[in-house]
């Protein structure tokens, strides 16, 4: 019973965080803040939802597979985001502040 | 409502099939044509799997307490079709790479004109 309540709390908060991330994907002004919104909430939502699901198993093979998914996603997802942001930086994408700076220089 | 649920899958399948077909016959770029072929192909897969689904059924892997299973036969056919599909896609893409090397372009209307040069 306690496990179920705990799992409910974890699942709902995980769902909430992933929703905020998706909204951030639209609301934030430039690419780097959007990466931030997507990747940070991705990690926390993964942790919360997978642990919520683990509490619902009988702690058998299914729980181990879920743990494997958790480890895998926690390794790959931030790495992918990091590499993407780095690649964007090398590709010459500017942050909003930098764009403003260059515009100010042009005007001044 | 039940009429829509009964046939919705097939309608989407037809839509996807026609989208793929349209790309294949209207696009000039060969890579895009291959993407169109893949879309067409996937729509056929979805059609087979939709036919094999039984309402209230479960995945065809034996488990305790489950009496109704979906039809495993379409799954087998489509499983192998997917692997073969990707193999043929690879051959198609390899041909495109060679066409690019021979003609310098992958636009259909451009290398047609160059036939005389080679």
């Amino acid at each position: 019973m306690i496990l179920e309540t705990l799992s409910t709390i974890l699942l709902i908060s995980g769902a909430f965080f992933s929703l905020t991330g998706a909204i951030g994907l639209f609301k934030f002004p430039d690419f780097f803040t959007r990466v931030h919104a997507a990747s940070v909430t991705d990690s926390i939502a993964t942790i919360l939802i997978i642990s919520g699901l683990i509490l619902r198993t009988d702690f058998d093979l299914v729980a181990i597979k879920l743990l494997f998914i958790l480890v895998f996603l926690l390794l790959t997802s931030p790495t992918a985001s990091h590499a993407l942001a780095k690649s964007a930086r090398h590709g010459g994408l500017l942050t909003l502040a930098e764009i403003r700076d260059t515009q100010n220089k042009d005007n001044g | 409502m039940s009429f829509i649920v009964d046939y919705y899958n097939y309608w989407i399948v037809v839509f996807l099939m026609m989208a793929g077909f349209y790309i294949v016959i209207s696009a000039n770029n060969l890579v895009k044509k291959v993407v169109g072929l893949n879309i067409f192909q996937t729509s056929v897969f979805i059609m087979y799997i939709s036919i094999g689904k039984v309402s209230g059924g479960s995945a065809p892997i034996l488990a305790d307490g489950i009496t109704s299973y979906s039809n495993p036969l379409p799954h087998v056919l489509i499983l192998t079709a997917i692997v073969v599909g990707v193999a043929t896609t690879a051959v198609g893409l390899a041909l495109i790479v060679r066409i690019k090397r021979a003609y310098g372009t992958v636009e259909e209307n451009e290398f047609k004109d160059k036939d005389a040069l080679i």
Binding site: S7, T8, L11, I12, G14, A15, F16, S18, L19, G21, A22, I23, L25, F26, F31, R34, V35, A38, D42, A45, T46, I49, I50, G52, L53, R56, T57, L61, V62, K65, L66, F68, I69, F72, L73, T76, S77, T79, A80, S81, A83, L84, S87, A88, H90, G91, G92, L93 | S58, A59, I61, A63, I66
Partner: protein, 96 residues
Amino acid sequence: MLVLTATSVAILSVMALALARALKADTVYDRILGVNMVGTKTALFIAVMGFLGGRPDFLDIAIVYALINFIGMIAVLRFFEYTATDGEPGDKEQSS
């Protein structure tokens, strides 16, 4: 059960939003970000769906999703490094 349904609906709507981002992106990088998000959320969605359907032993598919999503991302980055010399990936996409 209600909680699982609510969670799956939430993840599904996140996927829809990420898909919208990928379909209508300002830069290539936004598109990749959307694709990546669809991938990771799909893995989560399959995990939740297994519990929802009462057969949670199909989690292998979620693992494959996470794995293939990662490889796809690496392939995209490699593509960028490769084509970096001829054309700027950061420029605005043209779409009709």
